[in-house]
Symmetry: C2
Subunit: 475 residues, 2 copies
């Protein structure tokens, strides 16, 4: 029997180049950039209804685990596992860990290694290439998907396509670092070069064998991290002591550039890495004036513009080749054709303590029970909006430096204060004195929303002592 | 004895050309555009310590009366009177009303008619021109201040300077509508033309006499509006029935372009009408790259930029000749050199019900007792931050469609609900059920701040029935 394919989705990236919409706490893959689902959700949707696939393995980190679980649930795609990387160590050890994990279930497992933040049109052409790659992987090839260039891109690595092999794949001629424009134009004119997409199809066993030969430290770290992994609710926590021993190296450098089993499959389906705002612009269908607008905006005498806004209304007048990207707390304005520079610019923000937070946090934080957004921050008080999913319960907790008022504005809340339980419906409020032990539950069938007014001398999220938690967050 | 000069400050304008910072509810003159005082306050500061001035008369409308009073108080400049125009009828009847009003106090009154939203460097040169104009006005001339051009501006009306008169002023050759660029360049090269600044110096008696001769309907409307005016706290409400009869016409058209007593005083002090973002930019000192930044922003590879932001951090990269103006709910991005177009663009916003509010309201509303800002609006609830000045009391009021929760986050509140009085200190809260009659007072010596959570099916500001009010707003 032919084994099915296990999708391995890499969902731990931080996506600084789509600042200010993409932040460390809410990176690109979890944002609705190309429609009404996030890119991660669209990655899951592409797996639906295809008999070729097993339930996917998602690789991410502890910070993103709840958003992964929640967004997956919204799509209805059941995940095989969510593997949590204890630290960021690039793709080699992450993929090797997934390979060891998959081998435990099926020694013939094929892995389709996928990004969670790319745009792909999943048509017959696409699935045809998946099947071609799978056949070649079964024959022992480590297949990389190479996108046939449609423009002289300087933002991608290239692969020179070598001799043809059976099963429609080709030998790899060589890997080429991101070229300058002249080189990229030559590659495009000449043909025989493809973009390195970061998508792969491999047999787990072959991959591991090559990894053990070519990158032993990576292989050992991954093997031990999986052996010693702990299950935590729906998550598999890779062992951190073992995982941290891995070198930080990409799977391209560690394996694909070294192994004699590497092959490339040139593909022509619609693909974008959405690596910068001009790529997001190109992946949409610009209107007759070359404009793409996401959110509320009015453009006049403006051409070749990418406008995205989370809340404020944007007016753009008399400009060409312009990106205007607005989140609640930060705005980027620059040449669309130079939008690759955002990544470097964000480094400058990060280096400055006054603006560092702009690179990290987002207005809304998602938690396993729901989430919250800060609507007002002041010196000695702040106001938050909390939403709690039906049936969910926050941890039993207390604060040393703040007291809180809760006003229920939607749904029903069950509030326990120092052991005493109250049920509040819409329009009722309750006071949580400093130092009290309290817990919030949504006992209802609809979402609970409440306004929290905190007052105190210190209002940081770390003033919290948890004594019980449904989500394993004690202390 | 020589009469002192009565400054007449026009503070009723709506300033749409500095959108999105300037809004109908908080126009340009009340905003800190050129330092840490508003333009209106800077207009008042220019009157300080000059023995030549009486207490000023401020012309404004009912909507702006409290912000006028509060901002004046902050400067420490005592106002002679705040005249409230019942409707907007342009400058002729407004100034005529001020002239009749001033004549009641002093039949020899000289009026220095001033905008509240211009930038002026009040140096010796400036005050020298004030005294020259005053001397000419005492001799019976209606003096207009003409700014000697420094660039071929197309946004101003021009005046051709005629024959010299005694006292340093000149006859007016003719008034010239806003010229095209070629004409403006010719005026600049040729000399003998000045910009019509909208600043005047006149004897009230002479002005009224000319007004009665040349614009009788205006004069009659103004005279009756003052005769029937009602004092309302610190304000003088011009009679609306009388005032409304006035034609809507500027003082230039009604008087200065017709009278034989008009004179012009060419002046060279530093002046700007701040009529658009490029004018605001020019009135500041751009840095070595030609950039002006107000608020939190980072500019890279950018030249000739005007950036102003109320809260969000702005990053601008690789642009020249660019305006980026961000309020909490709207963002304008366009060529700085084309920023005069904002006024027309705002008309498009106004015509669209979905964006109309962006042209009018502002996040913070000022009231005689303090003010409030909306921090969160949702379908069936909203959250406001209220601040109440020490000793101030809101109206006794009730709402038919909403209940409210108040959480005191700073200071002390005295809350009366259906006759029962409670005193709340920081961190205490109270519930105001739908339909209750309630009143909020700050009995303390420091500002009171509270968070108000409103819930209900209708949350408009007009769901309010006032039964008592310290500020005369009953019903």
């Amino acid at each position: 029997m032919t084994s099915k394919i296990v999708p391995v989705i890499l969902a731990g990236g931080q996506g600084a180049r789509l600042w200010p919409i993409s932040r460390a706490t809410r990176p690109k893959q979890f944002i609705k950039l190309m429609g009404n689902q996030s890119l991660f959700q669209q990655s899951l949707e592409r797996l639906k209804g295809a008999a070729r696939y097993e339930a996917p393995i998602v690789l991410t980190n502890a910070e993103y685990r709840f958003v992964v679980a929640e967004q997956a649930q919204e799509t209805g795609v059941a995940l095989g596992a969510i593997l949590l990387e204890p630290v960021a160590r690039n793709t080699a050890v992450a993929i090797a860990s997934a390979a060891y994990f998959a081998l435990e279930q099926d020694e013939n497992a094929l892995l389709h290694i996928l990004a969670s933040d790319h745009a792909i049109t999943a048509d017959d052409l696409y699935f045809g290439t998946v099947d071609t790659a799978a056949a070649a992987a079964r024959d022992g090839w480590l297949v990389t998907f190479g996108i046939v260039p449609t423009s002289p891109e300087t933002g991608y690595g290239y692969i020179a396509v070598g001799d043809s092999l059976p099963n429609g794949v080709s030998k790899i001629g060589r890997f080429v670092e991101k070229p300058d424009l002249a080189k990229a134009e030559a590659f495009l004119a000449e043909g025989g070069y493809v973009w390195n997409s970061g998508m792969f199809m491999v047999a787990a066993r072959t991959f591991i064998a090559e990894c053990e030969t070519l990158a032993l430290a990576t292989a050992e770290a991954a093997r031990r991290a999986v052996e010693l992994a702990k299950s935590d609710l729906d998550f598999v926590r890779l062992d951190s002591a073992a995982f941290e021993r891995a070198p930080s190296i990409s799977v391209d450098y560690a394996i694909f550039e070294k192994t004699s089993k590497a092959a490339v499959l040139p593909v022509s389906f619609a693909w974008s890495d959405l690596g910068s705002w001009d790529a997001v612009w190109a992946a949409h269908r610009p209107d007759a004036f070359g404009n793409v607008v996401i959110g509320s905006a009015l453009l006049s005498n403006t051409t070749n513009a990418m406008v995205m806004t989370n809340s404020a209304h944007v007016m753009v007048d008399g400009l060409d080749d312009i990106a205007v990207i607005a989140s609640e707390d930060a705005i980027f304005v620059g040449r669309l054709s130079q939008a690759q520079r955002v990544g470097d610019l964000v480094k400058a923000l990060k280096a400055n303590p006054a603006t560092q937070a702009l690179t990290e946090t987002h207005q809304t934080s998602y938690r396993p029970w729901g989430g919250y957004s800060t609507v007002l921050m002041a010196d000695r008080f702040q106001v938050k909006r909390l939403f709690v999913k039906p049936g969910k319960k926050l941890s039993l907790q207390k604060h040393f430096h703040r007291s809180e008022h809760w006003v229920v504005v939607k749904g029903t809340a069950e509030v326990t204060i120092d052991g005493q339980v109250s049920v509040l419906s819409e329009n009722q409020s309750i006071y949580l004195p400093l130092g009290c032990t309290h817990r919030l539950t949504n006992p209802g069938k609809i979402e609970l929303q409440l306004i929290e007014v905190q007052t105190g001398s210190y209002l940081g999220e770390d003033d919290i002592v948890r004594t019980e938690d449904d989500f394993g967050r004690i202390g």
